[in-house]
Symmetry: C2
Subunit: 118 residues, 2 copies
Amino acid sequence: MRIERELMRGAGPVAVLKLLERGEMYGYELVESLSQQSDGVLAMGQSTLYPLLYNLEAKGLIAGSWREAPETGRARKYYALTGKGKKRLASDAKQWQALVNAMSVIGVVSRDGKRSVA
Amino acid sequence: MRIERELMRGAGPVAVLKLLERGEMYGYELVESLSQQSDGVLAMGQSTLYPLLYNLEAKGLIAGSWREAPETGRARKYYALTGKGKKRLASDAKQWQALVNAMSVIGVVSRDGKRSVA
DNA sequence: CGTTATACCTCGTGTCACATAGTATGTCCC
DNA sequence: GGGACATACTATGTGACACGAGGTATAACG
């Protein structure tokens, strides 16, 4: 499912941090992963992801390192979650949960995954 | 709980439409309601809400009408959800649910209201 | 009559999503 | 070996939006 971009604002960085929690990944891989793992909902183009990564790196939440891909030998920039990033992720996840709960209270979403009946 | 504004992007308009689904409300009332009903999570200042309302009105999703307050006699601009707005709300709620589900899949939030353990 | 609450409006700044475009290199197949 | 395709990162410009700060006006209250 494809959703309007405006709705996704704020979700992108949190999703990226969460994926990096499992282990380091490179940009192109993140673009593919986000699209596949969320059935397109969290999909974002390269021109959205890369600036997002630069932003997270500038804030010290992730750290990039150029290395060669073990399979192909191509240069890639792997991003890893920093200690600061882990704290931010925990904080953001908490806030996201609060937001979901609030939206649930006013009836926009339900907690069991079913859309509220209008 | 006060959350970072960036995370809330996209949630604001949906929350407003949802509140108006119950019946018409005026700006100041919406500011207060959003803050109270969500324990501050969905709180937004007037400088955020009013432009948001003008935007929704320009899109034909809500319709405003100046009337006098029955209790005080003061002039207020009451906003009501239009037919178009109802459809948009249904669509947005569906998309919001998809987003919540996607964030749940990657582990950022849980569906039962508890924060995922990092 | 001054303070507070109500109620609406505006401007400027900073941030962000995204489309578009560009660069470069590795793989595959003929 | 060369053209097509996938991989992978970078740059730029536009438009939208959240929000702080500031402004106006009126009713209620002591």
